[in-house]
Symmetry: C2
Subunit: 438 residues, 2 copies
């Protein structure tokens, strides 16, 4: 079989190739146990490209995470410094906070003018991060090239390899932004809102050449397969407002992503697809089905989607609404949004809240999809609530910190109130009590 021959060629192999070769890895066992599913079924889904396991061989102390078919929905949190707000300690604090809030994966989107600082932030983060860690190598490549116009394949591959060696588990690669899409982008209200997309459009227009990531995709795959870096095919042309949603530029790029996903699969590199963006609720189902069709069941990683443009200050909530719809129709992986999206870089509390709110969307979908563990957690919560047992409720609530904070304020530090069999909402006219009295 072809994959056996490939195995001989390579020094190291991916979870994908092992699954194809019917081999069960310790990473597969870990994920299957965690998700309470059959490991053989998981292996089959990996072999078909329906599931990826994020696990770079160089990421020490990693708890691998599976994403895709029949698994619970995962939540990613983006952190990282920007040119205007760069503070390593603050970003490491954010890392701790999102881990505490139980983000399933973390992406470092740091882009600052000093590339050694980017290296430092990334390495320090990976060291402390026991969940899969992602990056967008083109950000650092732009910095190292001194501007997007000076990008070269060589620079890009150098950065990509550095990230891979450091243990980055998944990387966004905007290889689907191609020259033919330029006139399509010009038709839009918002043109381009992806940083990676804008870098590549700029480069293609300046040099009048095809996107080098698209042309030399195989060279990226060479590195990815060596370390088992999962390729997250970036949607550089994701719509930036609902007026542009599901438009020609977006669908043209999605078709390119489908083509590139096939290349990944042929070379046994794990792949997932990044998705929009800004999509009204009535177009979400169509978008998910389209991705699953065009990309042959590859896991779908959605940012939001935001169903409206007018929720600035509450984009975390609007994104949770869109994310819940996406999840119900088959999306596998939600990227959180914070309340600061479209306004500025979030602070630590905003980052924390962003993770919790995305997890609420994900958990709502897990329950609806019949995940037994998720349903059981809710039943336990209901039983504790019936008894007004605040300590037991605290064990099952999604965000313990907020729950405790609100309770504390509610009871105003009064231990008698904390132990009292009531809450201030109904007081003596509590439906439970009236019913139970009978």
């Amino acid at each position: 079989m072809q994959c056996i021959i490939k195995l001989k060629e390579w020094s190291k192999v991916t979870q994908f190739l092992k699954a194809k070769n019917n081999e069960i890895t310790k990473e597969m066992r870990y994920v299957a146990k965690n998700e309470n599913i059959d490991v053989n079924k998981l292996k089959e889904n990996i072999a078909k490209g329906y599931v990826v396991i994020l696990a770079n061989k160089n990421h020490k102390n990693l708890k691998p995470v599976g994403i895709g078919k029949d698994l619970i929905i995962k939540v990613n949190a983006n952190i990282g410094a920007s040119p205007d707000k760069s503070d390593l300690e603050k970003e490491l604090e954010k890392l701790n906070v999102v881990l505490e809030a139980k983000a399933d994966t973390i992406m470092d989107l740091t882009i600052v003018d000093d590339y050694e600082y980017i290296d430092e932030i990334r390495r320090k983060m990976i060291e402390r991060c026991d969940v899969p860690f992602g990056t967008v190598p083109i950000y650092q490549a732009v910095v190292e090239s001194k501007g997007p116009g000076n990008l070269t394949l060589e620079n890009y591959l150098k950065v990509f390899e550095k990230h891979a060696k450091d243990g980055v588990d998944f990387t966004t690669v905007h290889a689907g932004v191609t020259r033919n899409s330029i006139p399509l982008v010009n038709k839009r209200l918002m043109a381009v809102v992806s940083r990676g997309g804008s870098f590549l459009l700029h480069w293609m227009k300046k040099h009048n050449k095809e996107n080098f990531l698209y042309k030399h995709f195989d060279e990226i795959l060479d590195i990815a397969r060596e370390y088992d870096v999962t390729i997250s095919l970036g949607d550089g042309l994701r719509p930036g407002c609902i007026a542009d949603s599901t438009d020609e530029a977006q669908i043209y790029e999605l078709q390119k992503l489908g083509e590139l996903a096939e290349k990944c699969k042929e070379r046994d590199v794990q792949v997932m697809i990044e998705g929009p963006g800004h999509i009204p609720l009535d177009q979400i189902k169509m978008n998910i089905k389209l991705e699953k069709h065009i990309c042959k069941g590859s896991p779908f990683y959605v940012l939001g989607p935001l169903p409206i443009d007018t929720a600035a200050g509450y984009d975390h909530v609007a994104g949770a609404i869109g994310g819940a719809f996406a999840g119900m129709y088959g999306a596998d992986f939600l990227c959180y949004l914070t309340s600061k999206e479209h306004i500025g870089l979030p602070n630590i509390e905003e980052v924390r809240e962003g993770v919790v709110i995305a997890k609420i969307a994900a958990h709502s979908v897990d329950v609806a999809r019949g995940n037994e563990k998720a349903i059981e957690q809710n039943h336990k919560m209901a039983k504790a609530r019936k008894k007004r047992d605040w300590n037991k409720m605290a064990k099952h609530v999604i965000d313990l910190k907020r729950f405790k904070d609100l309770r504390r304020k509610e009871c105003d530090g009064d231990p008698a109130l904390e132990k009292a069999d009531k809450c201030s909402m109904c007081g003596e006219y509590c439906a439970f009590k009236i019913y139970q009295k009978d």
Copy 2:
């Protein structure tokens, strides 16, 4: 025609009867203009019972609001004092805040031991409230009767009439909680979580009699039709956790509500149906379709629904997710939830945030349903965002207060930053700028 005969019998008539008699009222004109729809079409929908116009004849300075088919989704905010937190000034402040946050309707759920105080709060609120105002008369009836066990029809009707005379536009009536449902409630994990429902179950068990609201429903309708109070048929048996959702008790009650809605319609009293509660995402469509089928297209007023039980501290967000699904499948009216739901009585800021978040869910559905005004607002926002025109964005954002607060913090009071053509998220690496530079 029968309705003409009725017209002669009554001193005053409802919007419903006028619509049936092909008469266009000033309230219908107001609503049609506000919603940018054809007034004849609106009148037909009212005549069929698909739309209600909330407008008690005694409510001075009211801007009437339509709820139902082909109209934008409305949001209700519950306020009111509880036995443990009773402060008239605070509740009036909440009223101002929810009006500012653009709640479409307000319900006063005050239940305190002093019934004169309940009268005072209600009257002061109605005086200041220019949107439709709702109450749950059984709360005050229980107080006036000194406990749910002592409720009498006479007491209830006296309170109901007082509310109607004061100008209450809609009232929750838990007439569908009937004796046969008692064994069904006992099968549940959470039994009953509606206060009104618990009062009536208690009364029925104590007296071994049928729910007097059910038996004497016609007498309630006599008052409702005189003042054109819209009956909001309460779901006293709404599930209190996802384990109980769409269960026998809930569906049994819904059938009773369908029967009672028919009675309202026969007597030309406007009616809407209140709905669950706690419903996982996969059961929401079914619940909406069931209500629309059983209650022959009556407007559906949903509380949440909450798709999970474990989001305590974030029930406003979980409710917005559930509300958006409900809206997409045909719910007409969303009752907000606050972050304090299941924890305590919300404070002013929590009430404000609750309204905004429910409005985000409603607006997302309006956009998806193709409402032109809603879509236009989003396009204007996108155009302003493209230009980084923060002043223009402020005109189109759903919550101006939060937007300004976050911007102010972001710019740290620095006027140069406020005018600067950037935000701290991407700084110089802004996708728009890179694209527009070309």
